[in-house]
Symmetry: C2
Subunit: 521 residues, 2 copies
């Protein structure tokens, strides 16, 4: 992206005032900006107005303006001398339930200045969303959750800016994508009615807000774009994903799959978009399984098991001593356990095959993935039968959602040419593993396109392109939301999908052929 295409920075050289032209400072600047932006109007906060005379005179009327889109006009979010040494920065935020990720970019040109992530501090209240939402109902609970999030964000912004050599006050634009619940808690909006029939958000389109009104410690004039929701169970993170994948601009239907606590799926192309979301269960969310965590050094992200020897080959991020496993690692592990005959088609641990990797902890059967002497924690890293059961429900939910959605529009899964797979947890899901357990349909691997953190990247795109911002609401308004709990066949299909890879093994020929070739087959 060339600096000239920067949507939020405008260099303005004003003709200084004179007796012949005694236009007011603000009006002079606004007139020049309106021309540059072809804008009907440009707003200036009163506190920035107050600083304007000194800035303009100090800078000899040659200034760099930060601007942001607001409704059908613009708002001035910063003014510095044209030769100001530090960049005007933008901050994209993926507001995850488990992990919050920040991307700092230079608004002039869109270059990445740094990235940071931190565990969602609301985990202290409850690791899962529902616990937090119930906590928000208690006196002071909502304020506490909002303060936890904003406090964590501000600390992370501080660290990120220090490492990038800029000041938090240099950040003039922020964009935030999160699911509906996280967005509510972020804005201090009571989520009480999100989780009670008929499941009503406070707002679907929060739009553009003042950072200062939200307590975000960046420039006091910065604006925050909040990605809109479709409803209680379909959030702005997915809208950001669509924006980033460009699903809405394609000529042929494709699927966007976001695997998390919710299985969120959008099917469509330039002519239509249909989405649905269903509780996939907590199996894939970091912090949910006993050893589950988000991506980071020492986290298991790939597993392979030799089907003959049942020897484990564990790969960790940065090849550090293992200390946990992330979502993609869990899917890999389950697939490998299945192909090695160590779990059966119901996902149950097979004693004979697991051998001394089996352990009984608090009366629940566990499989030892990494023994204590090889782990960074000094304890066995294990996965329990309960967690495997949960994973089976999650993968069944995902597959059933995919099946239901494509059937609804009269398509077969095999007709979908492209599956964008968003990696919510920073680990890329291996489609081969996801197919092996029947989470994703058995299609040629090249149809699966990893997207990375599409929520974060979509949020960043909104800061990098004015056209992208204009698309957000249009994407939102185009999506038809499919309500699953009114679909009569959904539960039947879900039950059929609760086997590895599926009751109807004919749907997964590649898995069948692998199984056939295995020593224990």
């Amino acid at each position: 992206m060339s600096p000239s295409s920067s949507p939020w920075i405008r260099r303005v050289d004003l003709i200084p005032p004179s007796l012949k032209d005694n236009t007011a400072d603000a009006d002079r600047l606004v007139a020049a900006l309106r021309k540059k932006l072809a804008a009907e109007w440009v707003d200036i906060d009163v506190d920035l107005l107050a600083q304007l005379p000194a800035i303009l005179r100090r800078c000899d009327y040659r200034v760099r303006c930060s601007v942001f889109r607001y409704r059908n006009g613009w708002v001035l979010t910063g003014v510095d001398c044209a030769d100001h040494p530090r960049p005007a920065a933008g901050l994209a935020v993926d507001l995850g339930t488990t992990r919050v990720v920040l991307l700092l970019i230079d608004c002039a040109g869109g270059r990445t200045l740094g990235e940071q992530a931190f565990d969602n501090p609301q985990i202290a209240v409850g690791p899962d969303v529902l616990t937090r939402l119930h906590h928000a109902d208690s006196p002071g609970g909502l304020r506490e959750l909002t303060d936890l999030m904003i406090g964590g964000l501000n600390r992370s912004i501080g660290r990120l800016c220090r490492s990038a050599g800029i000041e938090p006050a240099d950040i003039c634009a922020v964009s935030v994508a999160g699911n509906t619940a996280m967005t509510h808690l972020f804005l201090g909006l009571e989520p009480r009615w999100l989780i009670r029939e008929p499941y009503i958000p406070v707002v679907n389109r929060p739009g553009v807000l003042k950072a200062a009104d939200l307590g975000i410690e960046v420039s006091p004039f910065a604006r925050v774009l909040i990605f809109p929701n479709i409803g209680s169970y379909f959030g702005g993170d997915l809208i950001a994903g669509i924006l980033f994948s460009k699903l809405h601009q394609r000529n042929e239907p494709a699927l966007l799959v976001d695997v998390g606590t919710n299985a969120e799926v959008v099917l469509g192309y330039k002519d239509w978009l249909i989405g649905c979301a269903g509780a996939a269960g907590p199996a894939l969310e970091g912090g949910m399984t006993q050893m589950g965590m988000t991506a980071g050094p020492g986290v298991v992200d790939r597993v392979s098991i030799d089907p003959a020897t049942r020897r484990f080959d564990i790969h960790t991020i940065d090849e550090k001593t293992p200390r946990g496993i992330c979502g993609s690692g869990v899917i890999d592990l389950a697939a490998q356990l299945f192909l090695a005959g160590m779990i059966d088609i119901r996902g149950k641990l097979v004693s004979a095959a697991c051998g001394d990797r089996l352990a009984l902890i608090e009366d629940i059967r566990h499989l030892v993935v990494v023994p204590a002497e090889q782990s960074a924690t000094g304890r066995d890293l294990t996965i329990s039968q309960a967690e495997l059961d949960s994973l089976v429900r999650s993968k069944a939910a995902m597959y059933t959602i995919l099946e239901t959605l494509t059937m609804t529009v009269g398509l077969d899964l095999s007709e979908i040419g492209t599956f964008y797979v968003a990696g919510t947890f920073g680990c890329f899901i291996n489609p081969r593993s996801a197919i092996a357990i029947g989470m994703l349909p058995d299609l040629p691997l090249e149809r699966y396109v990893p997207l990375g953190n599409s929520s974060l990247q979509g949020a960043a795109l909104a800061l990098r392109s004015a056209a992208a911002i204009d698309e957000i609401d249009r994407i939102r308004d185009r999506i038809t939301y499919l309500e699953l709990n009114v679909n009569p066949d959904f539960m039947n299909r879900f039950s059929a999908a609760k086997f590895l890879p599926h009751t109807d093994t004919g749907r997964f020929p590649s898995v069948q052929s692998q199984l056939k070739d295995l020593p224990h087959a």
Copy 2:
């Protein structure tokens, strides 16, 4: 004005949410409001968003919304149950240098709920504008001036609301009209460049701001409309005056005259508007003359002097014991002194005619208007020769401005059918007196139309009519500002006008005929 035409109140009956229609609370309300307002967009502050779910459910989805125009959209400034017992109120403020006047209205229907006035607390820093503007340059000076004004306003709002039986939080809309300097100090904007060549305001069009951002203690969601300025010496008070007088809609040219520290004059009609302002001097501003004050009980507002006996007949407001004199009283006094031969055509006190009313105070000649034994202060109420000199300069400035402005557009003063005279100080200027001293041209008295406090009434009109709000910027943009200090003949005309009524006595035939008939003629 009928309640149905209320521009800022909308009754909205929403269909409560259901599984069939799970639109978010805010989106549901906004959709209904957009329809009612034919609006492209309606903004809601995040703090109001946070209150929305509880309000909607408590009110059974039947609500009274306060809204306000913002750019080409609307902003929601309040939501209450449809049967809320107290009115949604609007507050109009005339931000005078000497006196601040508040008018409280019911936004539904426009009915006046109360009026209050208080002395501008910035007088503590300096009675005249220039002293205050210089004080604003000192460390902390601007903040002090702004805090004085906002503090005084908040106390006055409290008193006004108590007397009207409402809460300050019931006020959802505020409109403020003041001159450019007062508007700057009100908004906390440095006036440094207003008074230095080339005389540059910080902003001419502050637009609509949040009351909370300005520290005004009304509803935290209330918006404040600030009347725009033309330039450093032509302020929003006059734009409000034009709006109220409807000068800009007339079929024939008319003049709007606002007499204060500045002589502000606008000439025009539906096809064009031309304005100018010149320093008229402090003579007419309350607090400027030793006994000068703004209108109030005991303030001299009319004076007549029997030319035969030179007996004074003093009228005070509410007929209380005299304690001072207001602007219109000073003009009356000067006219009567002149007609009674007690001042000459240069405005100098005539010893022989003044007799024992003459007093020498600190070597300056004074005329005793009310002797100590009849005054409420226990001291003589006097007017000094210096104050009379100042008045002569003021009236000369006003007349010269009127003459220059009409000549500029090729008209003669006698061709102007209507003179709107704004009574800045709450006292109505008697045109007969203003003509006698040559401040206003010698035209049939019926051409002079008193407007009262047109700044306050214009500000109130903006709250009573959406159409009026739309006109404000159009009026501002239509005004051509005539720069007097570049007019070569201005000083010559000014010198000729520094006599009572004028060097060219033929211009004031009615005054001449009065003088002829007098005993001392």
